[in-house]
């Protein structure tokens, strides 16, 4: 085999090293936890990521039937890489509805909902997530995030007895 030309080898080496360095920086920025997350995030970077539509529809069906744990399992299956803002929005909404209480909210579930809605905002173009679903009273990630943050806040308004008459969105 003929030896590689000097300049060809150096250019090839530079391309290889720069690609590897970019990959390492990307890993440190995105911190993928699983292989699915890593491959999903990589395909999303090149715009080739697709969710499992069947699993997503199953998740929405469970969500509408107030089966939130089952819904999240289906959503997780639909978007294993956590790269689809719409699915993440539904996951956040499921935490909101499950954690909502007339007297008090489940702060652990609300906190996880906030994480999911933050993820959805981060993934969406210009941070705008709007879901056209007539079953939902909050159709944007901004409304949902504000509601989750309000649910986690502790202040004097918590003692307002009229809060007992509020309704879940």
């Amino acid at each position: 085999m003929a030896p590689m030309r000097e300049s060809t080898a150096r250019v090839l080496g530079l391309v290889l090293v720069i690609s590897y360095a970019v990959f390492i920086v990307w890993l440190y920025v995105h911190q993928p936890q699983t292989v699915a997350e890593m491959t999903g995030a990589l395909t999303a970077t090149v715009g080739a990521y697709q969710i499992d539509r069947q699993a997503f529809d199953d998740g929405v069906r469970f969500f509408r039937g107030d089966q939130f744990d089952a819904a999240r399992l289906a959503f997780e299956r639909a978007d294993p890489a956590h790269q689809d803002p719409r699915t993440q929005f539904y996951i956040a909404y499921s935490y909101y509805r499950q954690g909502w209480g007339r007297v008090y909210n489940d702060t652990a579930l609300f906190a996880r909902g906030l994480e999911a809605v933050d993820r959805a905002i981060l993934l969406a173009d210009h941070g705008r997530v709007v879901v056209d679903d007539p079953d939902l009273q909050m159709r944007s990630a901004d409304e949902l995030k504000a509601e989750l943050q309000a649910g986690l806040r502790r202040d004097a308004s918590d003692l307002n007895p009229l809060k007992l008459f509020r309704r879940r969105k």
Binding site: R10, V11, G13, L14, V17, Y20
Partner: protein, 223 residues
């Protein structure tokens, strides 16, 4: 130094150290970026390597080399610097009193080595001892002290450190795989340091002036 070593093996080796140096496994995988202080330590380390002749930057970059060759040389230097920051990231504990002590200890040790101006072999041996000791202290001694279940080593250390509040020493408990990854990262780092182009003249002699005599220059194929 062969062309392939400069263009492919050394940068990829150092970048692998960069990747592995931040890996921490505790339930899930975390990739910790290097703290700011490790940049200072890495800078000092490169200074020590150059001073001792373990690294001859003039063999990687000099006016007599073609632009592409100088670019490859710059990549090796940058990769070595980044790998050094991650090597210190591996060696220094993440929190508490040990972090402060390790940082100060390594800083003083590197300054001392810089002032002593030892030769290449002694510097590499010295660095091996420094990083080896830091590894043992962090991943064996401190890990044993921080382990909530404990073991014979923890009991022995508690007896030795009687009266000292362990809260200042304990660290985040990582999965044992973190130690193995750290060991591989440090081993690769030392392999990289040993493969760096050394100075050709006497360790005590002055660095070569430019332009270098023809015989001192690397040919484009053998840099």
């Amino acid at each position: 130094m062969s062309r392939n070593l400069e263009v492919f093996y050394l940068p990829l080796l150092f970048l692998t150290v960069t990747l592995l140096g931040g890996v921490r496994v505790a339930g899930h995988v975390m990739l910790l970026p290097p703290p700011l202080f490790t940049l200072v330590l890495a800078f000092l380390l490169l200074g020590v390597l150059v001073r001792s002749g373990a690294l001859a930057p003039e063999r990687l970059m000099n006016p007599a080399r073609p632009t592409l060759a100088n670019l490859s040389g710059a990549v090796v230097l940058i990769a070595a610097f980044v790998a050094a920051t991650q090597a210190f990231n591996v060696a220094i504990p993440e929190s508490g009193l040990p972090r402060l002590l390790f940082g100060v200890f390594l800083f003083v040790l590197l300054l001392n080595t810089l002032a002593a101006s030892p030769d290449r072999l002694r510097v590499l041996r010295s660095l091996l001892v420094i990083f080896g000791s830091a590894f043992v202290l962090k991943f064996i001694v401190l890990a044993a002290l921080s382990d909530p279940e404990g073991g014979w080593l923890k009991r022995a250390l508690q007896t030795l450190l009687e009266g000292l509040t362990l809260g200042t020493l304990t660290q985040t408990v990582y999965s044992p795989i973190t130690g193995y990854v750290a060991f591989i990262a440090l081993t690769l780092f030392f392999a990289g340091l040993a493969l760096l182009p050394p100075r050709r003249r006497s360790a005590l002699g002055p660095p070569p002036s430019y332009p270098l005599p023809r015989g001192e220059l690397d040919s484009p194929g053998e840099v």
